[in-house]
């Protein structure tokens, strides 16, 4: 349940709270196979929470892009949604 460490038995758990909500990462489980992972996801991440949908994905199926080119390197934070609150010369 702690942060996924990349072992082959790690499944990431994604949960959708209600029909209009995005599928968000809830955490991970360590399980011998997908069927056990589903049971653990339910017992650990949904038993006491409202849950519309629960999905498990083997961590090994994640395709990482590595270092994302240009990501966050151009100092154009003022283009981000959170607005201009931290930009000198603008009042939030």
């Amino acid at each position: 349940m702690s942060e996924a460490t990349g072992g082959e038995n790690v499944y990431l758990v994604f949960r959708r709270q209600d029909a209009a909500a995005p599928l968000t990462e809830a955490g991970s489980v360590d399980a011998k196979n997908a069927e056990l992972a589903k049971i653990y996801a339910r017992e650990n991440y949904a038993r006491r929470k409202r849950t519309e949908e629960l999905v498990v994905v083997p961590k090994t199926a994640m395709e990482s892009l590595g270092e994302v080119p240009y990501g966050g390197t151009l100092e154009k934070e003022y283009r981000e949604n959170r607005g201009y609150e931290n930009v000198e010369g603008f009042t939030a």
């Binding site: 196979n33 069927e35 056990l36 653990y40 038993r47």
Partner: protein
């Protein structure tokens, strides 16, 4: 015929009902507390949460059925859970012993879940109307438990050592599992109307369902008779006495704990 109020029911029916409900409650009490042995030391932290949830469910079922018996006896569910001597318990012997290993846990708990589901269905189909809702609530939760057991049987069977342990556990448990379906009272509870299905037919339904799960992973159930000592008439192992002593520890300190 249906019974919706025990005040107008025949004495033989009330006695048989009380004996069977007590057996149900004792089964859940012993199984739930035995499963708690894994809390903190289950194979993985995820399984720890899963098996502890299951244990908590079984303890909740015990309380539901102790409440029913307490109503008939005009006593309390806590007295029933914590103030009886071991020979007064009517739980199946299948549930008493400490678990040998994880495979033993999976096999014995799975057999219990299937047997309990068959019995509760028969109870819901019996003549005592007020129990139907209680039985149905428990059956809904048991469906999750049997799924947990089935996935673990498949998982262990797919591994060489796991399979060996599964076979050994099944050999050890099967005769006790068959002995689950014995009357807890003086009379035949199905004939009395407590169950809508005879005990032998319940046992056959259990063998069919649990047997097919084991067969689906290439294991066959042992060809043995039900164990002679069932626990339903109060013959228990020393393991039960030790387990009950542990369950009473907090209660005996005067703490108000649920059944």
């Amino acid at each position: 015929m249906t019974v919706d109020n025990l005040e107008n029911a025949e004495e033989s029916f009330v006695n048989a009902l009380e004996a069977e409900l007590l057996a149900v409650a004792d089964d859940d009490h012993v199984m739930g507390n035995r499963l708690c042995d894994w809390t903190g030391v289950a194979p993985t932290v995820e399984e720890d949460v899963a098996i502890s949830n299951v244990a908590q469910d079984e303890l909740g079922h015990a309380e539901l059925f102790y409440d029913q018996v307490a109503e008939i006896r005009e006593g309390s569910s806590q007295e029933l859970a914590y103030e009886r001597s071991p020979e007064e318990y009517r739980n199946a012997r299948l549930l008493e012993a400490p678990f040998e290993d994880w495979a033993d846990t999976v096999v014995r708990h799975y057999c219990y879940d299937v047997a309990d589901a068959v019995r509760l269905r028969a109870l819901a189909d019996g003549e005592y109307e007020p129990i139907e809702g209680v039985a149905q609530k428990v059956l809904d939760e048991e469906a999750y438990h049997t799924e947990h057991g089935e996935v673990w049987i498949e998982t262990l069977a797919a591994d060489v050592e796991g399979r060996e342990r599964l076979v050994a556990a099944l050999e050890d448990a099967w005769a006790d599992a068959l002995a689950f379906f014995e009357p807890a009272g003086e009379v035949d509870p199905a004939e009395a109307g407590v169950y809508g299905r005879p005990l032998d037919a319940q046992r056959e339904a259990f063998v069919e369902r649990a047997g097919s799960t084991f067969e689906s992973v290439g294991l066959s159930v042992p060809d043995v008779d039900p164990a002679a000592e069932t626990g339903r008439e109060g013959a228990h192992s020393d393991d039960l006495e030790e387990l009950l002593a542990e369950t009473r520890e907090v209660y005996e300190q005067g703490v108000d704990v649920g059944a």
